[in-house]
């Protein structure tokens, strides 16, 4: 039973009830379920998500880097090509980890395992499910980011103690993609539609100033890329990795804060529409 104290106006009550049917403050049960399922599931998926950016770093950073030499990093610093692309690959890895958990994983649970249907027949509300699943996606993002940052350290690509902040910043990036990814996935009904997500992610990975600076593009394309989320993640981590901050840093962080807020609103609204219709 809800404890509704006196002094609440009628609108307060109505709002509380509306919210009450969405959220029961028990997202940890969803997280607990995810951890228990992960314990028995294959670790291969987790491992492959970690190795992908490492392989890119070796091939592009070390391999191609040997003919590129040094490039100009944030704040005009000369850094090795590997050190230039490593933070970008970390942003990509945060994005991929979050997207994997919040799209394919959620798609399967929603449409085939009917997991959410079962959850929503308990005391859980859609917001508990959304928060729980997003938290799990972030946990995966945190693991990837920590592993990749360690690789960067071992390869001598970290030049500043500020660089340790790339780990929480990666989680912020993962949060943005996870909150949106789950909402978008709720619109998908078939595997073909799920492919559209890759269709969107691959060009974003290749062209978001990941491997070369944005300045190579004509101005309109630059604007377009600057509107995309990954570019902000790449720039944010690149700045942190060398400890060079500016007003742009705040804009990049702000971009993700807004993305997270909009994503959670979208996801919760969609879950409500889908399961409490």
């Amino acid at each position: 039973m809800s404890v509704l104290t006196g002094g609440h106006s009628a609108t307060d009550l109505a709002r509380e009830r509306k919210f009450g049917s969405l959220y029961s403050r028990n997202a940890r049960a969803v997280v607990g379920r995810g951890l228990m399922a992960a314990k028995s599931s294959t670790w291969l998926v987790l491992v492959s998500g970690f190795f992908e950016p490492v392989l890119f770093l070796l091939a592009m950073g070390v391999g191609m880097g040997s003919i590129v030499g040094t490039v100009q990093g944030p704040g005009g610093l000369e850094i090795s090509y590997a050190a230039y692309i490593a933070p970008a690959l970390l942003a990509v890895s945060a994005m991929n980890g979050a997207i994997y958990d919040s799209t394919w994983n959620v798609f399967f649970k929603m449409n085939f395992a009917r997991l959410y249907q079962g959850m929503l027949y308990t005391s859980l509300g859609p917001l508990d499910v959304a928060i729980g699943e997003i938290f799990l996606a972030l946990l995966r993002g945190l693991l990837y980011a920590t592993g990749f940052t360690a690789v960067m350290g071992v390869m001598g690509l970290l030049t500043s103690w500020w660089a340790i902040l790339v780990i929480p910043a990666s989680v912020l990036i993962a949060f943005g993609f996870a909150s949106f990814g789950m909402g978008i996935t709720s619109f998908m009904k078939t595997f073909q539609q799920m492919d559209w997500i890759n269709f969107f992610l691959l060009p974003m990975f290749l062209f978001s100033a990941t491997f070369y600076p944005l300045s190579v593009y004509p101005q309109p394309i630059q604007w377009f890329i600057q509107a995309m989320p990954l570019w902000h993640g790449v720039e944010l981590l690149r700045q942190i990795s060398v400890g060079s901050f500016g007003p742009a840093t705040a804009i990049h962080v702000g971009y993700y804060v807004v993305m997270i807020a909009l994503g959670i609103m979208l996801t919760t609204g969609r879950l409500r529409q889908l399961f409490l219709k």
Partner: protein
């Protein structure tokens, strides 16, 4: 006995666009009753169940589950409900016992309560030796029993069962019925939908017959049969060619005649004597069978259609 009403529906209606899945139905269920919704596929049974569970919003009418509206108090209402959906939705990534514990966590229940409770429910569902099996490895009947065990983890006062035995073999159905009967004896209110008349007769104290979203009749299985059918039924098969035309020749035998594509049903107080009259007229059915009237006959009478089609 003056038992409190746990479910009260008034003019409950659910429309999906032009289709009215549930059309202005009203019913009350007292605590401890076993209440059935009998009807063919698409009658609106599952939709009614979803509205009771608060996972489907009604279009109009009112609904009260233990004094609460499931639409505004979803989580609180569901805290007192156990739900067995039509299709099993067990968590295949977890093992059998884990399924029970994790589900209990969704209700916010503590592990010190859930651990012994899970073992007790495994015992009840006769799955103790499968506690650490994967869900995949269970048979259809075992999965169903696990789903029912799972629905009991929060000690619900009301258990919603949507087609609990559909797709199970006869032996598995009887085991399940036995378990459900025990629950009923322990005082749990059962709400069950089914399109099997034998299931309804076995388990329901009272039921509503629904068709196209409307209530066609309400009462105990025995009273419904008494009201809407004769004591016995004579089933005759003359072959698919003759069934349709034989009606005229059978006129006057029994109280009522029903011609189906594959057989002719004669409703009579005494089936054997009706059969004698048929043979006295020189008619030779390929097969004949005298049986007691069932809810199937009630449904046929009320809607002109059979339950399972």
């Amino acid at each position: 006995m003056n038992r409190p009403t746990v479910i009260s529906a008034r003019s409950l209606t659910k429309a999906y666009g032009d289709l009215t899945a549930v059309d202005n139905i009203s019913f009350d269920v007292p605590a401890g009753e076993s209440f059935g919704l009998l009807g063919p596929n698409g009658a609106g049974k599952s939709t009614t169940m979803k509205m009771i569970g608060g996972v489907s919003q009604r279009t109009s009418g009112s609904l009260s589950i233990m004094g609460l509206d499931p639409e505004t108090h979803g989580p609180e209402v569901r805290a007192h409900l156990g739900v067995v959906p039509q299709q099993d939705n067990l968590d295949e990534e977890l093992r059998v016992r884990e399924n029970l514990i994790v589900y209990g966590r969704y209700f916010g229940l503590p592990l010190r309560y859930l651990r012994p409770k899970a073992d007790e429910l495994l015992e009840f569902a006769q799955l103790t030796d499968k506690a650490n099996s994967k869900v995949d490895a269970l048979s259809g009947g075992m999965k169903r029993r696990l789903t029912i065990a799972r629905s009991l983890i929060n000690e619900p006062r009301i258990l919603l069962l949507d087609e609990p035995t559909t797709g199970l073999d006869p032996q598995a159905r009887h085991i399940l019925w036995d378990r459900l009967f025990r629950l009923k004896e322990s005082g749990v209110t059962l709400i069950l939908t089914t399109h099997y008349m034998d299931e309804a007769e076995q388990l329901c104290d009272r039921l509503i017959v629904v068709d196209k979203g409307r209530i066609m009749a309400e009462g105990s299985p025995a009273s419904l049969i008494r009201e809407h059918s004769s004591r016995e039924v004579l089933e005759l098969r003359f072959g698919s060619e003759r069934n349709a035309t034989i009606g005229v020749e059978l006129e006057g035998i029994g109280e009522r005649l029903e011609t189906l594509p594959d057989r002719v049903l004669i409703y009579a107080h005494d089936g054997e004597s009706a059969l004698e009259q048929v043979t006295a007229r020189g008619l030779r059915p390929m097969t004949s069978l005298v049986r007691r009237s069932s809810l199937e006959d009630v449904f046929l009478r009320l809607t002109g259609r059979s339950l399972v089609d």
